[in-house]
């Protein structure tokens, strides 16, 4: 057990899985010699060789496409897309092929791969380096979408993702890479995909978040009797946990970094409006980025939900 940050936890998870299972291979831009631009794959190419830790050309679509072929062949590729903002080029491969290979081949082939990518903002990086477009990928039946919120969940979820027999998009909140340190067991452990975590119990309202927003939510709720749910997996998301909490509190605030319209908050709200409406005492509020393109750093703080916006929403639902 060591106190480590998320980069270290991810590195630990990948390293141990590479050692345990020779089907695991890593591919992506700069993942080899350079150890990844965030150093998540640091040291692996030396340790496992360049056939298992593959520096690719700049071809996001083909990185995912190749990983599909490798997975179908029987390997367990872990592809890295350097930033989520560059994954859009791989959208076709993800949605048309990774998500559907099992279905198209009627299970003759499957696609046990992980696509890891830094996700979200707050690191003062250039254009397209601070995207949080998770909702797109949650509308792709056949793909799971996972977002850790700290070193401990990062390791356990990544191991679960690699061992999952289907494709998993693994979104790593960039802002958290080195922000938080946690005690992380040295040995193997998995956190089951599809299960949320209640990170704080409370009776007056339920706040739902994931990734780097969680940290902000925890600050915002300090003086409230709020239950906080960290979804961890967005698709499939843990509707049971959400509905159970809503039954208790009757009030919901959802917080995400992506723009409001058709963000993942919409799905959560819609599910509650469908299955938990009788428990609701207040409107379901979403605290999100506005419906504008992700701005550069000078405006970024105005873009993502602030603590004030979160508490304003909490105050509003508590008025009911």
């Amino acid at each position: 057990m060591a106190r480590i940050n998320m980069v270290q936890a991810l590195n630990m998870a990948l390293g141990s899985e590479m050692k345990r299972d020779d089907r695991v291979v890593i591919l992506g831009e700069d993942v080899g010699r350079d150890g990844g631009v965030f150093r998540v794959t640091e040291g692996f190419q030396e340790q496992f060789g360049s056939e298992r830790v593959i520096d690719t050309p700049i071809s996001e679509s083909a990185i995912v496409g190749m990983a599909i072929g490798m997975a179908a062949y029987g390997l367990l590729p872990v592809a890295e897309i350097q930033f989520l903002g560059f994954s859009y080029a791989a959208f076709d491969q993800l949605f048309v092929h990774a998500a559907r290979l099992r279905s198209r081949s009627r299970s003759r082939y499957n696609c046990p791969m992980v696509v890891r990518t830094p996700y979200g903002g707050g690191i003062k990086a250039p254009e397209l380096h601070e995207e949080s477009s998770e909702a797109f990928f949650c509308h792709m039946p056949g793909i799971k979408v996972v977002v850790p919120s700290g070193p401990y969940t990062a390791k356990g979820l990544l191991l679960a993702a690699i061992r999952d027999p289907d494709p998993v998009l693994f979104l790593e909140p960039t802002r958290l890479y080195r922000l938080i340190k946690e005690e992380v067991p040295d040995g193997e452990y998995t956190i089951p995909l599809g299960k949320a975590r209640v990170v704080r119990e409370g009776g007056d309202l339920t706040v739902i978040a994931w990734g780097s927003m969680l940290e902000r939510v925890m600050k915002a709720v300090e003086r409230y009797n709020a239950e906080v749910i960290d979804l961890l997996t967005l698709n499939p998301f843990d509707a049971v946990a959400v509905l159970a909490s809503v039954k208790k509190t009757g009030r919901v605030v959802i917080v995400h970094e992506a723009p409001r319209t058709c963000g993942f908050g919409a799905e959560i709200a819609a599910t509650v409006a469908e299955q938990g409406i009788m428990d609701l005492r207040a409107p379901i509020l979403r605290v999100t980025a506005p419906d504008v393109p992700v701005p550069l750093s000078k405006l970024f703080d105005y873009y993502i939900p602030s603590i004030e916006q979160i508490t304003a929403a909490i105050d509003e639902v508590l008025r009911y």
């Binding site: 050309p57 190749m66 076709d92 092929h97 009627r106």
Partner: protein, 351 residues
Amino acid sequence: MPNDILATFTVRRLTILNENGNVDDALMPVLSETEIRRMYELMILTRTFDERAQALQREGRLGTYPSTLGQEAAQIGSALALHHSDWVFPSFREMGVQLTLGYPIHRLLQYWSGDERGQVSPENFNIFPMCLSVGTHIPHAVGAAMAARYRRDPVVVVAYFGDGATSKGDFHEGFNLAGVFRLPVVFICQNNQWAISVPLKGQTASASLAQKAIGFGFEGVQVDGNDVFAVHRAATEAIEKARSGGGATFIECLTYRMADHTTADDASRYRSPDDVAIWRAKDPIMRLERFMDLRGMLKDGYVEQTKTFATSTIDEAVRTMEAIPPPLTAEMFDHTCAVLNPRQVRQREGG
């Protein structure tokens, strides 16, 4: 621009069998009479399948269907060069390849009838599901080749696609990776000179497709795609080169799409019957027949027997296909993921 020559490249073209049925003996691959008959029989089988599929479509018993008419040499010639352990990534117009590899015929029909279960390739052969999205399967082939090499398996991967696919980014990215990693993959383009209504010169300003390989550091060769021997030779050499660590090859089979693009298309809107007539005279089956005739291989009603056998084989497959019960709703769910999530489970149960 007056300056130094940095590099010079040549692109070659292979023809062995001419339109009169004569071959260039120096180039002719070593093939037994049995092997040549097998080529012929598969070409006839493919054409018979094709005619039947089109007829079934007209009767509403199949959905939209893309004809392979005229492309039999490119398909059978190349597929016969494969080993059983090799992996094949087809596009949607390679039924001759699947037939050559022993794909169950009724499953091909089943697929074109709108039933995914037709995409299940036999366990003893790795044929990926047909890819309808032009060119997007090329990176998969590259990935499989990467995995095979990592496993030290003596496997070669073959990807098939059309001239239209060469315009896609996937073509480029896949080719580039195959070059960088020197992978055991062979790319076979059936340049049938049309992509729906767009003729080759509307697809690229490149004089040949083969020369596109120059930009990726491996060899590209143009083959007379209506010459089954040339295709076979080029494919065999490329596959063996790949198997022995020599990396990728791009084979352009120059052929012609004799039929409409699919049964939903009407090619008379955009091309002249004269153009088609020119290519009818280059029919790959006719060429092989002439060759066989010159060697006395068509005696004793061989052609008729072959055709009759093909017809009854296809008849049988149609019966098998039509006897398959329609898929159940649950089918739609059961292959989405290894384990359905709770919402999917509820939806599967009608909720």
